[in-house]
Amino acid sequence: MTPRPSTLSAPWLLAGPGALFFIGLVLLPLALTVILSFHAYDHSTGIQNTFTLSHYVAVVTDEYYLEIFWRTLRIAALTTLICAAIGVPEAYILSRMRDPWRSIFLLVIIGPLLVSVVVRTFGWSMLLGSQGLVNQALQLLGLPSARILYTETAIVIALVHVMLPFMVIPVWTALQKLDPMVEAAAWTLGASHFTALRRVVMPQVTLGMLSGSLIVFGLSASAFAVPALLGGRRLKMAATLVYDEYLQELNWPLGAAIAIIVLVANLCIMLAYNRMVEARARRTLG
């Protein structure tokens, strides 16, 4: 039997809308940004129609930009680490809960996703400000007030809050796949609770944790609202830097070059990391 023409074209027709959407909203703007980043820029006349690599050279040689990239990397890595440290036990406890509580706590964890990041970040700036709740509490206890707002600490705290669900959910999913009796089996074979966790539960959790880390790292490294509101004017991260180049300096080509560099760096880190995840997956659970 020969397939009719309509069945041949069906996959294309079905994939078409999605592909068009992707091309129009992702690939096209990206291509334009890449092209823009090679345009020369002059402070008095604006964007020139001449090709130049100067923006890239400027970015990778200027201490100022490198420091911001380094900070972005540091904050994203720290956020990922803290999310893993909090999120993994949280997911484990969640997976061991019985049903009414499990649903309630899952909602508590996912709930914040329903509130805009901007609103939540404003909340943190009120809590952490010089007259905020945290400092009032410190004063009540007779401790010196701390400057938290407009520091990297504030950014990390808020980012952890925003990113935690992206760690808990993949770990929780991984744990769901683990037969709860497996842990009991380890006990009956002589393992202590701690050994059973380390030898039997952790390997299962690792995969979920690794993919959760990938999401958290990627989102943290490109976060905009949190560093913009909690980092102040001085403490910039990659996304706020790009924003400033575009809207404050009006140097679009430079902003584009930074955006591309951040994108490529993020991509490299994530691909390398994913390799690790995949290699590990093949070795243990493949």
Binding site: T188, T195, Q204, L285
Partner: protein
């Protein structure tokens, strides 16, 4: 000598009593089955022995020591879970070695014992596979090897064969019995399959609603069930309700000769007779006349349902190579009175 003892063991989950007042004594080397319908508390009982569930009341002792509150990792019992609960990220050999590793058995001895355990369950060539690369029957054997390699005083099996298809299941029943005979480990197996319990155990413990209602050798359990639930749960049977008279039971105005000591005349009773103990005779030649309602050929035997004045009776007769009476033909049922089992009604007895 009593090796494992459960004394008045109960387990309550909130207000719900899952296991009630269980007393059980198991000898060394015995193979005992816990048999009962789903939800009757078999798994809970097994897990109390394993230490995974703490009894609300009662005492469990092993070889003279009270282990009621001992942690599962200190009891050293071998447990095979219903889901097998193999470690998915470890190979078959690593799974089996885990218990030895926890006991700090030296590497050389460990390798040797894993090899032995795997050859016992005939999986030597699968040592480097992962559980997901194995069939159900193979996984089950890995679980048995993993539990046996630590040389446990008692092996606990929770419905080990329930995930297997019929044929494999039968093979594994023999396999299980072979392994148990060879190693001589005291074994307790949970099952809801009466045929399985009867075929491989030394003794069967019947549980209903968290209670133990009969503990007997398979043959005695089948021939002398202590209540009507057991008589119909263990094997097939015909039940007839009636009243006890001095020399037999009166059912629907007919007096059926039977013997049962210690039952007062006038007590309501249930008569139980197994389908294979009923004989099919020509009409008028037996004790109870009837008509063949349906006839099924099962290969080695024929299964009849016969309409009689006392109700529909199920009869099985061996296939002797001759065509038995057709559907609709008048027949008569006969039996030996010794095969009529009289059970005093629990409602009246209580």
């Amino acid at each position: 000598m009593a090796f494992l003892t459960l004394e008045r063991v109960s387990k309550e989950f909130g207000t719900f009593t899952a296991v009630r007042d269980v007393n059980l004594t198991i000898d060394k080397g015995e193979f005992v089955s816990l048999l009962g319908p789903s939800g009757c508390g078999k798994t809970t009982t097994l897990q109390m022995i394993a230490g995974l569930v703490e009894p609300t009341q009662g005492r469990i002792s092993l070889d003279g020591h009270d282990i009621t509150h001992e942690k599962p990792n200190r009891r050293g019992l071998g447990v095979v879970f219903q889901s097998y609960a193999l470690f998915p990220h470890m190979t078959v050999a690593q799974n089996v070695a885990f218990g030895l590793e926890m006991r700090r058995v030296p590497q050389a001895e460990r390798t040797e014992r894993v090899r032995e355990a795997l050859s016992l369950v005939q999986l030597s060539s699968f040592a480097d596979r992962y559980p997901r690369q194995l069939s159900g029957g193979q996984r089950q054997r890995v679980a048995i090897a993993r539990a046996l390699v630590i040389a446990p005083p008692v092996l606990l099996l929770d419905e080990p064969l329930s995930n297997l298809d019929a044929k494999l299941r039968e093979e594994m029943q023999f396999e299980l019995r072979r392994i148990q005979r060879k190693v001589g480990t005291t074994t307790i197996m949970v099952t809801h399959d009466q045929a399985e319990a009867l075929s491989i155990s030394d003794r069967v413990v019947v549980m209903e609603d968290g209670r133990m209602t009969q503990v007997d050798a398979p043959y005695r359990l089948y021939e002398q069930p202590s209540n009507t639930f057991i008589s119909s749960f263990v094997g097939k049977t015909n039940l007839l309700a009636g009243t006890w008279r001095r020399s037999g039971a009166e059912i629907g105005g007919v007096l059926l000769e039977a013997s049962a000591p210690e039952i007062a005349a006038g007590t309501p009773v249930t008569l139980s007779i197994r389908p294979e103990k009923l004989l099919l005779r020509d009409a008028g030649a037996g004790r109870l006349d009837g008509r063949v309602a349906s006839r099924f050929f099962l290969g080695s035997q024929w299964l009849f349902t016969v309409e009689t004045s006392l109700g529909t009776m199920t009869v099985t007769i061996p296939n002797q190579g001759e065509e038995p009476p057709a559907e609709g033909s008048p027949v008569s049922l006969d039996w030996s009175p010794a095969n009529l089992r009289v059970i005093a009604d629990t409602a009246a007895a209580a």
